[in-house]
């Protein structure tokens, strides 16, 4: 199972400043292991964020993004106590969803 994300969503006025760290190998498919075999591609393809169930952010990314990537974005119209959930899906179909409360530290 995929490891948990670390999400921070601090509130500045009505704008939530979101920063998310994802644990993922992000293999490009260009690397070889110690015995010379190509390490197969394994990377996050889709990221979505929902505020109280409503989509507020989405991204399609590729293997060009680093291992254990960090993303930051702002969500307008957020209130303290809102629930922000972030989901990623990778090219093997693995997914992970984590949720935080906006302004909850």
């Amino acid at each position: 199972m995929a490891d948990p994300m670390k999400i921070r969503a601090s509130l500045q006025g009505d704008v939530a400043d979101v920063r998310v760290l994802m644990a993922h190998p992000m293999e490009t498919g260009q690397r070889k292991d110690a015995s010379g075999n190509v390490v197969p591609q394994h990377f996050i393809q889709t990221i979505t964020a929902q505020l109280n169930g409503k989509p507020v952010f989405g991204a399609d990314i590729s293997q060009a993004i680093s291992r254990n990537p960090v993303f930051a974005f702002k969500v307008k119209g957020a209130k303290a106590g809102d629930k922000l959930s972030i989901t990623w899906i990778d090219n093997k179909g693995d997914k992970r969803t984590d949720e935080v409360v906006v302004g909850g530290g």
């Binding site: 670390k6 760290l21 292991d33 254990n68």
Partner: protein
């Protein structure tokens, strides 16, 4: 290959010249410090904090127990502030233990894991992180912004410091190296990495602050157990035992020398 090696050599020598000219404030180091300051705000080490916290609280192992009864020196289950006071003497085992060694001890005694199994593959590589590394990252993070206060009240703690000092200065191996060869004088470096002089009070905390650390090269989390092991390798010494007295002694020596400085939590490395 040959070409890239020569190019690397040229870069290396250019940097070396720059380093000699300004031992403390060369532009490479300054730029890297800026980069590190930015990265510290979103340090992937936090991923291992979360993972370590789960491992700490989950019932695991043959005895199906969590680590919440683990005594890190401040009483069973007390994690806050424990890391900045390790290594310390533990009466239940009659010896001094560092943080990771104590965690492994708890995994063995409370959860029933086998020490031999843990010690078979104790360091991170690729996408693999051993459980003690994640747990020590979690424990270390609970001492963020606290003052380093490695105790020296018990005679065994003082003896361990003395032993650590002796190991630090002990020259041996095919290259007649000691830790102090690289870390006992100002202005030393390995390739482009400037090395702190741990015998000086103002530089000693660099052995403690920033560890455990996320290494951007390879994207792996490393603990001080790994750092000590790798320094031994670089000196062409025989490999030290994982979670052994030798490592505890070195960590006690450097930890006590770092006392009084503020620990910033898990760090980020090149």
């Amino acid at each position: 290959m040959q070409k890239s090696f020569r190019a690397a050599l040229a870069t290396c020598c250019a940097v070396a010249a720059a380093t000699l000219a300004h031992a403390q404030t060369d532009p490479t180091t300054e730029d890297f410090e800026k980069f590190r300051a930015v990265m510290e705000d979103a340090n992937p080490a936090e991923l291992w904090e979360v993972k370590g916290e789960q491992l700490w609280k989950t019932r695991r192992g043959p005895k199906n127990a969590s680590l919440e009864q683990c005594d890190l020196g401040l009483g069973p289950g007390v994690v806050k502030g424990a890391y900045v006071q390790l290594p310390r003497y533990f009466a239940d085992v009659g010896t001094v233990m560092d943080a990771e060694r104590r965690i492994v001890h708890c995994m063995v005694t409370l959860q029933g894991f086998s020490f031999e199994e843990i010690a078979k593959r104790p360091f991170s590589s690729g996408n693999y992180t051993p459980d003690p590394v994640s747990i020590v990252t979690f424990v270390a993070a609970q001492s963020r912004d606290m003052k380093i206060a490695v105790p020296q009240s018990h005679p065994k703690e003082r003896a361990t410091w003395e032993l650590g000092k002796a190991i630090f200065h002990y020259r041996a191996g095919p290259w007649d190296f000691s830790c102090a060869t690289c870390h006992g004088e100002d202005g030393k470096r390995i390739r482009t990495q400037n090395l702190p002089n741990f015998t000086k009070h103002d530089q000693a905390p660099r052995s403690f602050i920033g560890w455990p650390g996320y290494r951007m090269t390879g994207g792996v989390m490393h603990s001080l157990q790994w750092r000590m092991n790798d320094c031994f390798r670089q000196q062409r010494f025989p490999e030290p035992g994982y979670a052994s007295d030798t490592i505890t002694a070195l960590l006690t020596y450097m930890g006590v020398n770092s006392n009084g400085f503020v620990y910033k939590g898990p760090g980020i490395k090149r």
